[in-house]
Symmetry: D2
Subunit: 179 residues, 4 copies
């Protein structure tokens, strides 16, 4: 079982990363940091006669890499009660991927994958982060992907994540031990 | 009462716009189309010693314009069960605005404004769009802004919005008639 | 299409009823007022060797009546952000119905029905009533029943419902006009 | 810090109890089993000229007992995606308590208490139980009570709870260790 972690943080070594490494240590998975890649916002051309225009950025490369794994962990700080902008841009573009001939297998492949969500916020995230969890669940449902679990951590200032012992413990138990 | 409408659609004259004009006709408010402006994703530098770097884009101009109004209507298509990428980028950057000296009054000003949400999606949006409503509510709570109402429309293909009579009717009743 | 309305109010002619009659006038459906019937709380005996004990109350009679209709409207005041106690007792006992031989067709029959929710609350119900909507959606999903729509009204004191024009209008549009 | 646990299960030694004892062992708190007490459904008489009729049951006694503690843990199985009927009846009646002269301090007292939620369900409870969490949060907000945490366990058949290691671990970490 190969694990890919999609990191949506814009800050290096931040709280979300800290929590995420408790679930998937750096050497146990392929860690993809969206901040190091260029992804354009989607332009909705689903209904254009000519379809989507090709976009020059890193999105297709990232999708290709993601699809090589069995387990996909989405690790995002909570920005304004939902996923970070970079994570949103990355996922929005899936609408284009589904219409891209070379990714015609995209939806079918996701059906066989497991998804996890790791999210960290500062403002009562264990309650106010729940709509984000529900949205990830809907995304997984759309693709028939298994939503296997999530952990929500509470932290705001740098380094604060280490104080949320319950979340750290939950993170270590998030993925099945055999992995 | 001056009304600003922030449009998050990436497609011109799409379903979300169609529904939105039932609530706020073109001539009744200031309609801002984010797709016509350039807004960079936030980089979280809240905790950097030097603070946020200045960003060369249209965000400050848009915020200035938004603040000149009493009522702010957020009109967004539902992309993957949450707001569109452009809308997310626009709101994410509020974290930077709050740290920008010339916008030191930002949070205080929002406290006196009313917000509305208009959202349109194709996949059972009246249920699957509810987390998005909850997130907008949290955003409003954070700023002490009044969340005065929302309408969710169901549409996917171009032109389909005109069939959701209940949503169109709800949109016409969304803002108080005196406006 | 025969319509049954299950009323969960404990007060006669209250706000929830007022809103509900805008959707389904008294003469257009079978109106069942749970407050006029005796329904015991469930005792979870699903896993008892001898199964559920027979309960002497009106529940089976109500279920029989409900099943004679094609559309089921659940009309409940919002008590503490969820359905009223009487409505909860009525639905909780469905777990027993599913294990009752004479109702072995229960789940299959619900699959062919449409459900609507009408809910009225006093404390920001259009936002704080959303978890209730989500729960009804899950109930419908469990049974494969179509969750066709909902209306949330805002009212607390007797008579106040008549002021929520948007909800009254939405109620009149809730069911398809052909009914 | 005195802890009261309100058990909403209708089955003795069920999965919810099993999980709950990992958070609050039997000897560490006052365990109140609603199934052993008689609580009538509320009749909404808030707006009656004569107010609420006195109800002959155990509710006031239970409230008195609850108020003698600093921490209140609500432990409920998830019935149809929300709290159990007995738990709902118990909480619905708080509306009456608030109008009962001898409990005029009720709302003020809750303001100083901490609440926890422990919930167990069989159908994807970590996602489908989230509306229940949100409702508890709203209840706590209403009273100004601190909603200090929650754990959701997955179990359906008797004994199954012991397999949800992550939830059991989370339960042991739910309350602060000093208690």
């Amino acid at each position: 079982m190969k694990i890919a972690v999609i990191h949506g943080s814009t800050r290096e070594n931040g709280n979300t990363e800290y929590l995420t490494y408790h679930a998937i240590p750096k050497e146990k998975g392929t860690h993809i940091y969206l901040r190091n890649h260029f992804v354009q916002p989607i332009i909705d051309e689903r209904h254009d006669p000519q379809g989507f225009h090709h976009v020059e950025d890193d999105h297709e490369k990232l999708i290709t890499q993601m699809l090589e794994h069995d387990i996909i962990v989405f690790a995002t700080p909570i920005y304004w009660y939902s996923m970070s902008g970079p994570m949103k841009l990355f996922i929005d573009r899936w609408s284009q991927i589904m219409k891209t001939p070379k990714f015609s297998h995209f939806r079918e492949e996701l059906k066989h994958k497991q998804a996890y969500l790791i999210a960290v916020g500062g403002d009562n995230p264990r309650v106010k982060g729940l709509p984000l969890v529900q949205q990830f669940n809907y995304i997984c449902q759309f693709y028939g992907m298994t939503f296997s679990g999530y952990v929500i951590g509470k932290a705001s200032r740098p380094g604060e994540m280490k104080n949320d012992h319950a979340a750290l413990e939950a993170a270590t138990l998030l993925l099945p031990p055999l992995l």
